[in-house]
């Protein structure tokens, strides 16, 4: 099986990560494409409220 790494990895840890000095706010990055933003803006804010399922296994 080939190495599962497909993309180049960052050369150094991301800023604010690790260190073991207590909880930190999770790192948050903004989505960086207009297409994805458009897709997200199209999501009906009430879609989950109207989503009903029966319990499964």
């Amino acid at each position: 099986m080939p190495d599962p790494i497909q993309k180049p990895r960052p050369a150094s840890p991301a800023p604010g990560g690790g260190g073991g000095d207590g909880p930190k706010e999770p790192k948050v990055e903004k989505p960086n494409t207009d297409d994805l933003l458009k897709r997200m803006r199209k999501v009906d804010p009430d879609q989950a409220r109207r989503y009903r399922q029966r319990t499964g296994e």
Partner: protein, 507 residues
């Protein structure tokens, strides 16, 4: 890997405007819209016994029997037979596709490699979307399918895993030995969720790592729908019961990211191999409160995942996973390139989760979802308790590639795949070549109209000269047997020609 495995995924189903819809009818219609090559309504339920318990007894009733009876009573008013409601379809790749009460369920065929599982899982997603397109073409209220595990109102549905194990691995050693592993693997296998739930109710807003961790109250049980257990004790090996057992894992999220599925199933199989190889109980991590840890890990806002271990010691989910990885290295050392890659990927994800959880958003569903939705929330000024976040969460799981947020990320290259050389379109519905699924699927493809019944461990065909012929697959796990069977099947002109196989007989 010498442990075979497969996935069973229940899919959420609704319509764009869901008011007044009957989700059971929607699920039945979706499954019945499948035009993929297969054989309909031939599933042999007589070979199933959900009341037999792996702990050595048989229960008189399951807690869910009442639910089943209620569903049966409700379904009795439908102008359909039991077989039509189930609408079982055994596909030419050896998979099963059917209506499981109120959810379309796709069960992959048995796989012996993670690459095969990747293909078969992807084939299921494609099949589901083909059905969504076919069920009601041109409708202004189209069907929506979600590969997720909750409706945010306390109704959960599963993504179960099955692992074929030697019977020599005793139940208590197995169930006890893997418990801490299953509780902690959610840090890479969770699909993420905006909301906390309890059975049948929404609790409050808030992000957590896993979709399903709110719903487990038992460590092990023969039930699966009420008082849900981490592992199911149903003793139904779908194989020679003297030699094999099926380990049926209930705790686990449906993953969209192929890398998450690869880690989830791959690491689990490595740990099971270590247990089957005799890893001693004294080296296996133990938790003081496994069910409490399940929730606390999922809901920990700091993503440090501190939990209690045996003897009042404190540990973390990452440390537990590292201990299991060490155990697997010692008792199930890598045998193949796939194993080597898996051990490396497992180690890397634990290091990255410890260093900076957000750095895993190119592999894991929960970090990808969190990063995407939190970024959107900040840019749009959405409050942390806005129900829109749950709608965005739901949209992450939508299987429609033009709408689903996971697919939006996937198509812009945000995710790694464990198999970069694998064509994304996949091979279509073709069975794994290394397991008995190839024989099941081969019979479906070649002799479909003559298949009278099918199960995981057998196929019955109508002989053209009269009578029936059974392929008993309950001990066909050796690659040589599978290949010999495929050779005979390729040359066969009629089911009778299969009688030269040692596991075929007239019945």
């Amino acid at each position: 890997m010498d442990i075979q495995f497969g996935l069973e995924t229940e899919i959420g189903i609704t319509r764009d405007r869901p008011e007044g819809i009957d989700v059971v009818a929607e699920s039945i219609a979706l499954v019945r819209s499948a035009t993929a090559p297969g054989v309909r309504s031939c599933w042999d339920y007589r070979r199933e016994d959900p009341h037999r318990d792996a702990r050595g007894f048989r229960v008189d009733a399951l807690r869910q029997d009442t639910d089943e009876a209620n569903y049966f009573a409700q379904d009795a008013s439908r102008p359909m037979s039991f077989a039509e409601i189930k609408s079982d379809l055994v596909l030419r790749n050896g998979a099963r596709f059917y209506n499981d009460h109120a959810h379309p369920e796709y069960c992959t065929p048995e796989c012996s490699t993670l690459r095969e599982l990747f293909r078969q899982d992807a084939s299921g997603d494609r099949l589901l979307m083909e059905c969504a397109a076919a069920v009601d073409p041109g409708s202004d209220n189209p069907v929506r399918l979600y590969k997720n595990n909750t409706d945010f109102l306390g109704h959960s549905y599963g993504c179960h895993e099955n692992y074929l194990l030697p019977r020599s691995l005793g139940w208590s050693a197995l169930a006890g030995g893997i418990q801490a592993f299953l509780v902690t693997r959610q840090i890479y296998a969770g699909a993420g969720k905006y909301g906390w739930e309890d059975e049948d109710r929404f609790l409050h807003p808030g992000f957590q790592v896993a979709q399903r961790s709110d719903f487990f109250t038992e460590l092990q049980s023969v039930d699966t729908m009420q008082r849900r257990p981490l592992v199911n004790t149903r003793d139904e090996p779908h194989a020679d019961p003297a030699r094999f057992r099926r380990f049926h894992v209930i705790i686990g999220d449906a993953n969209l990211s192929p890398f998450a599925t690869y880690l989830k199933v791959g690491a689990t199989a490595l740990v099971l191999r270590a247990l089957a190889s005799g890893a001693p109980a004294g080296k296996i991590p133990r938790l003081s409160d496994p069910l409490g840890a399940l929730r606390s890990i999922s809901r920990d806002p700091a993503w440090k995942w501190e939990i209690g271990a045996a003897a009042s010691r404190r540990t973390t989910a990452i440390e537990v996973q590292r201990a299991y990885r060490e155990l697997a290295l010692e008792y199930a050392p890598p045998q193949t390139d796939e194993d080597q890659g898996l051990f490396a990927a497992w180690s890397e994800i634990l290091d990255d989760l410890e260093r900076e959880p957000g750095s895993t958003s190119d592999r894991l569903d929960w970090t990808a979802k969190h990063r995407l939705i939190e970024g959107f929330r900040e840019s749009e000024g959405i409050e942390a308790d806005d129900p829109w976040l749950r709608s965005l969460d739901l949209a992450y799981h939508e299987l429609d590639r033009e709408r689903g947020l996971f697919y939006g990320l996937w198509e812009k290259g945000s995710f790694r795949t464990p198999f970069p050389d694998e064509p994304e379109a996949g091979p279509g519905l073709r069975p794994p070549e290394t397991t008995r699924a190839a024989l099941r699927g081969g019979c479906i493809e070649k002799f479909g109209p003559l298949v009278k019944s099918a199960q995981w461990d057998g196929v019955v065909l109508q002989a053209s000269g009269g009578g029936r012929i059974e392929l008993d697959l309950n001990a066909v796990f050796d690659l040589g047997q599978v290949q010999a069977g495929l050779g005979v099947l390729a040359a066969a002109h009629a089911p009778e020609d299969l009688l030269s196989l040692p596991f075929a007989k007239r019945i």
